[in-house]
Symmetry: C2
Subunit: 237 residues, 2 copies
DNA sequence: GAAATAGTGTCTATCAGACATTATGAT
DNA sequence: ATCATAATGTCTGATAGACACTATTTC
C-alpha cells in the first residue's frame, strides 16, 4: 500500500454532558454558530489541536464552549465514530465521544462556537433532530450512563461532595426513570463495601434529619445494582 | 481559533484478536516489518484509508495482515488512544482499538507488514514488551473480554456454530482463569432466556454424549454470570 | 464392570423486593 | 399532636454455590 492511501483526519471531541436539574436528567446542547450545520442543535465539542490529546480537547471545549471547569466533572470515553459520511465537510472528520457527568452544573454560557447553549431534558433531547450523527452519540451516551450506574459508583459524580441517601437514590431514579424502593436502596448501597462512607454530619429539612455521606473508594459495585428493580420505568426504547 | 491549530491525524486500527487454542486464551501478535519500531512485537493493525471507516480498516487488516476473514470473527470497538507521545513518528497517529473474538482460528500467516505472526498465550503476552502503547491496549482488551463474558453472550463467538455445554464452560474458564462448577454453570446458562438453544443433536465422545447447542437470540445476560464464582482464579493483577 | 463424561436433584445460606414499623426532626 | 422524611426490621420467594447422585456412552 502506498502512504498516499492513508487518510488524514480531523479529530473532533464530542461530549454528552449530563447533569441533574430539578431531579431530572438534562443534557447540554448548543446551537451551532459555525458554517457547517449552522443553526442546528448539536452536542458541544470541537477539534483536537496540535500537541493536545482528545481528552485535553474535551476539557478545553467544555471550558471554552459551555463554561464548565474540569474539576467539576467526571469525563469518560464513550466511543469513536468514523463513518465516512458522518460529516459533510470535504475534510475527513472522526468523532471521539465522551460522557461528562457533573453535579448541579450552572446555566450554560454560549461562547464563540455557539449561538445558544442550554440544558435540555434528556427525554426531550432524544427526540430532537441533531447535527451530524449526534443523535446516535447522545443515545449511546445515555445508555452508557444508565448502564454504568449499575456496576460503578459514578452516580456520585452527579452529587456534591456530601449527599444524603435520598439524593443518591434520586440520581438513580432520574437516570433510570421510574422509582426505587427507599428501604431496599438504602440497605443495598450500604452493603457495598466502599460505595459511600458516613461523614458523621446530617442535613436538616422537613422530617427526620438525613445522614450525610461522601463517595467511598470503590470504583465498581459488586454485586451490581439492577435496573430490573425500577418501578414505573419508561418503556425500553 | 485559527483552523491551522487543528491537528490532522493518521488513524490506526489496532486489534486485540483473541481465540482459544488448547483451552487456553491466545492473542495474535506480529513482529513489525515496518521501519517504525521494526522487529518489535505488536498488535496487528494498520492505517485507515481514504473512503474507509476505522471498522472497515480493521476487517481489511485482519484479512491482509494475519489472514482472518470477517465472517469468522466478532469485532467490537474497545477505545481510542490519542496521547501525543503514543507514536514516535512525526505524523500524529491516533489508535482506534478493537477486540476481535473468533472460534478455532488457524495458524497465522505473516503478510507484508509482519516479519512473523503468531498466537501467544494471553498470560505470556501480558508480560511481553510491545511496540507503542500496545501493552496497555492489550490489557484493556483482555479486561474488556473478561467483563463482557459476564453480561453478554459473546462467549459463543469463541465457539463453532454448534457446541456443547462443556465447551462453553471451557470458554469461560479460559478467559476468566480458574474453574467453574459444571452443574451450576449448566443450570445458570439454561436459565437465561435466549442464551443458547438446543439443536437436538448430540456429540459422542468418551462418556455420555453431550447435547449440542447453538447461540440464542439474547445479546445480554440477566442476571449476569459472575466472576465471583471462579475457583482457583489467577490473582487480580 | 470400570472409567469417563453429561446431566439432575437437593440442601442451605444469602439476598432482593415488599411492606410494616420505628425514629427524629419541623410546624 | 401531626406531618414529613429517614432509617430499620421482618417476611418471603428466588437463586447461587456445594455436592451427592443418576444417566449414557466407550473400553
Amino acid at each position: 500500500m502506498s502512504d498516499a492511501d492513508r487518510e488524514v483526519a480531523l479529530v473532533a471531541s464530542d461530549m454528552v454532558v449530563l447533569t441533574l436539574r430539578d431531579d431530572e436528567l438534562h443534557v447540554a446542547l448548543i446551537r451551532r454558530a459555525a458554517a457547517t450545520e449552522r443553526g442546528k442543535w448539536a452536542l458541544p465539542g470541537g477539534f483536537m489541536r496540535r500537541g493536545e490529546s482528545a481528552e485535553q480537547a474535551a476539557y478545553r471545549e467544555l471550558r471554552e464552549e459551555v463554561g464548565i471547569a474540569e474539576r467539576d466533572v467526571v469525563l469518560e470515553q464513550l466511543r469513536t465514530y468514523t463513518e465516512v459520511e458522518r460529516d459533510p465537510r470535504p475534510e475527513r472528520v472522526i468523532g471521539v465521544a465522551w460522557t461528562v457527568f457533573g453535579a448541579r452544573l450552572p446555566d450554560l454560557e454560549a461562547a464563540s462556537d455557539a449561538l445558544e447553549a442550554v440544558w435540555v431534558p434528556v427525554d426531550e433531547a432524544l427526540g430532537m433532530p441533531l447535527a451530524f450523527d449526534h443523535q446516535r452519540i447522545l443515545a449511546d451516551g445515555v445508555e452508557r450512563a444508565r448502564s454504568k450506574l449499575e456496576y460503578t459508583s459514578v452516580a456520585t459524580a452527579f452529587l456534591d461532595d456530601e449527599f444524603t441517601m435520598s439524593q443518591l437514590r434520586h440520581v438513580y431514579q432520574a437516570v433510570w426513570g421510574g422509582s426505587l424502593e427507599p428501604a431496599n436502596f438504602h440497605r443495598k448501597v450500604l452493603s457495598v463495601d466502599g460505595f459511600v462512607e458516613e461523614t458523621g454530619d446530617s442535613r436538616v429539612g422537613r422530617g427526620r434529619p438525613a445522614k450525610l455521606y461522601r463517595r467511598g473508594s470503590a470504583q465498581t459495585i459488586y454485586p451490581p445494582l439492577t435496573r430490573a428493580s425500577v418501578r414505573g420505568a419508561r418503556p425500553r426504547s
